[in-house]
Amino acid sequence: MNISQALEIVSSSHPGMVRSHNEDSVVYDASCGLVVLADGMGGYNAGEVASGITASVMFTEITDVLRHKSAAEKNENSGEDLGVVLLRDNVQKANDSIFYAAQSQPQYAGMGTTVVAGLFYDNHLAVAHVGDSRMYRLRGEVFEPITRDHSLLQEQIDGGVISEKDARFSRNKNLVTRAVGIDLVVKIEVHVHHVQVGDLYLLCSDGLNDMVEDEDIGSTLTMLKSNLPLAASQLIQMANDNGGRDNVSLILVKVNGEFAASNGWLARVKALFGSWIC
């Protein structure tokens, strides 16, 4: 099964009930198995600019490379999958673009963005993230986050300063410890996960998980997974019914089949004529 048949992808974004701007950006490419969600921050429209740069850099650069290469190829130097290298390099590239734009144009000073990006290849999923945008996975009955926020609150939870129960009431939810575009170098966290047929992945901005409890998100996805567009609109509606204090964005990816990388001569032929295929 090729990847665009194996994956069903739906995305949605809403400004919420309070804000006039939508500073989130979402983009995906089903034929390459790429999903990117970014939540921008900064005055005026700088937040939109920062998240927009990240989404477009990641999309353009990664789909361009994958037109003639497979994300499952090993990098000669590091031995890592090309998919992992692509995610990391392009978050850094987005970081550079945002940082220099902010340096050269005063209205963009200090802008930045979170990002969570996934690349599906060879029955695997590489996930890169910076900041507090999340990726969750529903596998069977289990719904859980597979990213860990780069936020003050998460660090306090990890350090035992505050319990997860108390953290729900914290007033420090809006402090991230890492962001794309605020410094020359960005620390990017990348992990590779095995994918199983039937898995459902959710990428979301904090406008969803701050307004709707994980448990409610999980049960909504369990009930509505047969209709992804409805699941997406239902989640956004729940965030807005609860106050919708921030922009709400999400991407849902359902794995309907296996997508192993093809090896041998077929792969080489595909690589030769790849630009027509991907």
Binding site: M17, V18, D39, M41, G42, G43, G47, G110, M111, G112, T114, G131, D132, L152, E155, Q156, D158, G159, G160, V161, I162, S163, D166, F169, S170, R171, N172, K173, N174, L175, V176, T177, R178, A179, I182, D183, K187, D206, D210, D216, S219, T220, M223, L224, S226, N227, P229, L230, Q234, Q237, M238, N240, D241, N242, G243, G244, R245, D246
Partner: protein, 273 residues
């Protein structure tokens, strides 16, 4: 506005202390930030640690202990209006930014990076060195608007029942699809009664936010409980369910009392109780 502690005894307010330091100590001896000169109070009795907008109460192994809202604590995450007892003295914790403890995240996301902020030392103990504070963007100005959008359901879980001061009627968010029917109060409970088939006569109370009906793979609809009322939406199946004989489309449909739903060959009635 910084959070504060209000010291009182026998209902008489003695002093207010803004929590403007990362760590404030409470005790009998003079060097404490909050001095309570009473023999029941230990030399260094307790401390309040404040990290940005959150505060924690800690008992410093005092002889007579610290109670918060009536229970003894060693360490406690403070909520707005918590009552701390030290001997006969009471300290009330007030942190009413944006009015309610659910409104905190209204402020826009900010980045903690680069050097120097008051709470840097505290963070360094339990986090990586990068987490010191420089705010990239601050947007607290609109915080007064937020209260309007909090619905009563949100307030209930965070405030003890007896202290809910019936908030002014919440301003409902506008409905996604315009519906001519008047909104149903969400205080009333919706019920589905099965009219035909093997389960005829059975009732299903719609207590959860989402309830799915039907047979997976054949025909499924979801009933959603929203501030505006109950909606039915098609989920899957070759044909759409009907309400009062009319086929649904992909949009949510607001249910009104005595609507007859037909789904997977079964008829059921919606009503409110």
């Amino acid at each position: 506005m910084a959070a504060k502690l209000i010291l009182s005894m026998s209902g008489v307010v003695l002093q207010e202390y803004p929590l403007n330091k990362e760590r404030m100590t409470i005790g009998r001896k003079d060097h404490n930030d909050i001095v309570i000169d009473n023999l029941a109070v230990s030399g260094e009795h307790a401390a309040v640690v404040t990290v940005h907008n959150d505060s924690f109460m800690e008992d410093l192994e005092s002889t007579n202990g610290v109670a918060v809202n009536g229970s003894a604590i060693k360490k406690h995450f403070l909520h707005n209006n918590d009552l701390i007892e030290i001997g006969k003295y009471k300290l009330k914790y007030i942190n009413d930014q944006a009015g309610a403890s659910t409104a905190e995240d209204f402020e826009k996301t900010m980045v903690l990076s680069a050097p120097i902020h008051t709470s840097a030392n505290h963070l360094a103990k339990n986090a990586t060195g990068e987490a010191t504070g420089r705010f990239k963007s601050v947007a607290a100005a609109q915080s007064s608007r937020i209260e309007k959008t909090i619905t009563p359901q949100q307030i209930k879980p965070t405030v003890p029942a007896q202290s809910v001061k019936a908030p002014t009627p919440p301003q409902m968010p506008p409905p996604a699809p315009p519906q001519p029917t008047p909104p149903v109060s969400h205080q009333t409970g919706g019920v589905i009664q099965v009219l035909t088939g093997p389960n005829a006569g059975k009732e299903l109370e719609l207590v959860k936010n989402l309830t799915t009906l039907g047979k997976p793979g054949l025909q499924v609809a979801v009933l959603t409980k929203r501030p505006l009322g109950y909606f039915i939406t098609y989920v899957e199946g070759a044909t759409y369910p009907t309400v009062n004989g009319r086929l649904l489309d992909d949009q949510p449909h607001l249910l009104v009392e005595n609507d007859i739903i037909e789904l997977a060959g079964i008829k059921m009635e919606f009503y409110l109780k």
